[in-house]
Symmetry: none
Subunit: 191 residues, 2 copies
DNA sequence: GCACCATGTGGCATATTGTCGCAGCCCTCG
DNA sequence: CGAGGGCTGCGACAATATGCCACATGGTGC
């Protein structure tokens, strides 16, 4: 039900989060893509130039020094290094501002980080907004992930980011600590 | 209230919210722009064709269905009717999904609705290199999107994927249509 | 006209949150 | 040591939100 094409589809994953990078790469490899992975901007550019992948997954929060722009700054160079590559920007700290910039810079799509691989792949293809399909185009996606699942993933991510600190996570999520506790306690997260 | 035909600065405001429309028009007029105002899609197209304004402010939530599609659907036609016009999308129901769509469709910029006129005007001139004008949300990288915001973004994404079809989206999300409607109608949900 | 579907609303009964408050723990500091 | 201060777990209660049914409208296709 998905890509039957094999080795022809080269894909480059750029993300300094080692764990995420690895997981994503494996998921993509399992789907038959030729995956290359980069953890730094320099590495990314080198690989992009050499492999000229058709698809590039770019994390915005590279090199966690605090400047989240590093990823954005990479879009243009990547496009230059590999004109045929479609770039999909992926970030855990999504914002409309960066989304707009990313697209203006030529990214194919922009996704907030709890994504499932299918959505990511869809973003490369017809995703949405092909030249003039208009928005009326609506191919039924398999299972878009329920809202609850999304919430769960997101919470887990932030929780991990805060070293399991519930209070801090609740604060970051602007949600009441009590509520977070209840969510965490009650939900094994089904689907 | 929209005289001063300085041909150089024609601007078209499209927003079905009468109050907002009026306020914005006055603010623009006071700054010396020749303002035209439209409240419906049809009116907007007519005016765009006739006046061929250099700047177009487009509200996404036209013709108030809960879905914010109508505005998006207008972007392409407007561009066609007035190739030289720069479109800035403005919405009270901002989401990354629609922002991405809008930019892909050729909008110059995308702003969340509590905007001040200066930011709006800046959005027309801003290039990708400009020091980030406007966009009322670009919080420091330490803000990972609140859970509610996440939910909102996810919903918007799926909604767009289904061409704005609320029922289909609700089904895909395994959530009650009524609930979806309420969520859509209610929250501008910032942060 | 008549099914069929999407949508906009209203009205509940029930489930989930938002908030307070309190207690126990583990640290660090004076 | 004792006094903060932060994190956590949990009880209670009111304010919301959600699930669900119903009905009316507006389009479409037969």
């Amino acid at each position: 039900m998905n890509t039957e094409v094999t080795s022809r589809h080269r894909i480059l994953v750029i993300d300094d989060d080692a764990a995420f990078n690895r997981v994503l790469c494996r998921a993509l490899a399992r789907r038959g893509y030729a995956v290359a992975s980069a953890h730094t901007a320099a590495e990314a550019l080198t690989l992009a130039e050499r492999e000229c992948p058709a698809m590039i997954v770019l994390d915005l929060n590279l090199a966690g020094t605090g400047g989240s722009m590093s990823g954005l700054a990479l879009v243009a160079p990547l496009k230059r290094a590999c004109p045929n590559g479609n770039i999909v920007v992926l970030t855990g700290y999504a914002s409309i501002a960066t989304a707009v910039e990313a697209i203006k810079l030529g990214a194919r799509h922009y996704l907030a980080k709890p994504v499932d691989v299918d959505a990511l792949l869809a973003a490369f293809g017809t995703g949405i907004g092909a030249p003039d399909t208009g928005i009326a185009d609506s191919p039924p996606p398999g299972t878009p992930l329920s809202v609850d699942r999304m919430e769960w993933e997101h919470i887990q991510r932030i929780l991990l980011e805060h070293g399991g600190n519930i209070s801090a996570t609740a604060r970051a999520l602007k949600m009441h600590r009590r509520t977070l506790q209840r969510k965490l306690g009650k939900r094994p997260a089904r689907f």
